[in-house]
Amino acid sequence: MKHVDEYRDGELAFGIARRIAAEARDDRSYRFMEFCGGHTHAISRYGIEDLLPHNIRMIHGPGCPVCVLPIGRIDAAIELATRSEVTLCVYGDLMRVPASNGSNLLMAKAAGADIRMIYSTLDAIRIAEHEPHRQVIFFAIGFETTTPPTAMAVRLAQKRALTNFSIFCNHVITPPAIQKILESGEPGAVEIDGFIGPAHVSTIIGTKPYSRFASDFHKSIVIAGFEPLDVLQAILMLIRQVNEGRAEVENQYIRAVSSEGNRKALAEIEDIFEMRESFEWRGLGEIPFSALRLRERYAEFDAERHFSIVTKQALDNPACECGAILRGVKHPRDCKLFGVGCTPERPLGACMVSSEGSCAAYWAYGRFRSSPKPSGRRAAE
């Protein structure tokens, strides 16, 4: 696969890892947060942490839209789906997210709700066109990468004058979440030296929105592509920034990210959506101006208005540490429920459900650290 395989080259990975080990100073440690769940997944899938010296620690950030979606919103979606005239279209990632009372969308589907897994908003539009007697609601989640496809769905619905299509909008914004983490200053919080910035969010928003974290908070930031070599290169660039006392925004993913981002996509988002004054994030609490809703002029496509959706605040299991884990303050093994009540088989918290969540990643990757390592090379040795 072109533009993929080249960035998964094992030999180059070892070379870059050796470089990282050589340049990381012995007299300090480095703590980097990869904000984006996709990076968390890549790090665990390729075993990247195995290649890093012991004094570099990766902290998994909250850039997992499934993980930060509040339970109350899933409850609302399940309630919508149980209405007989509703067809709820969702991305596969959402099906097993735990809602209240141990339910989830998969179980609601099994109980008879018309819930359909789709790959694209284009599928949802198609369903609405082919089934005019159904009220088709698209359960929209995601950061800025996934927002433009939702915007285009609204455009299409408008163009084709669909009267049976609406969006249940839960799109969230990246920079406010990064800010929340930097401002939290809670006890036990690990001082973060820098961030690996999200790959595809950045294709949309560009690199400019991250500048204030470099200037105001003095954090080093490198926007990285998704492939393992991209991530390793970004870690090397972060090490260098930290060693040289620089706090800048650097772009490793130049092949797809520009500083202005995707103007067409941003224009569509601007036209169709507006900021909510505040939005609750699972694990992070209320964050002002961090989420989107449809503008008044697109009200006919807004499921929240259409169906008078009321979101009740629902609480996580009190022992669930997803919040602290999402903020990078605790580690999955610090959670009493990890592996005990909460497993990928029966997740209690979102961090375990999503394959990008810290707990799922640790389950797959870190649990066995006590076992002998495979014969693969370790860069620092």
């Binding site: 533009h3 470089r19 908003t121 284009l122 496809p149 285009m152 969010v201 949309i204 990210v257």
Partner: protein, 76 residues
């Protein structure tokens, strides 16, 4: 978030759609979020939409940089 994959544009279709391919597997995707895309260009594909065009020059530069990082490391 954002599982996105680079795919090659094989055929432009009406309504800002295109047939894109990854290693011989093709899907129909929307080009409505990108501009100036031609056949044989590579795009970043996410949930059925192209989000960005992959800049071949920048990609080459990235690979060269990766190789430099890897090679130089061996000498240290």
């Amino acid at each position: 978030m954002c599982l996105a994959i680079p795919a090659r544009v094989m055929e432009l279709l009406p309504d800002e759609m295109a047939r894109v391919s990854l290693d011989g597997v093709s899907v129909i995707a929307s080009l409505s979020l990108v501009e100036d895309v031609r056949v044989d260009d590579y795009v970043v594909l996410h949930v059925g939409y192209a989000l960005a065009k992959i800049d071949e020059e920048e990609a080459k530069e990235t690979l060269a940089l990766l190789r430099r990082s890897a090679d130089v490391g061996a000498e240290t």
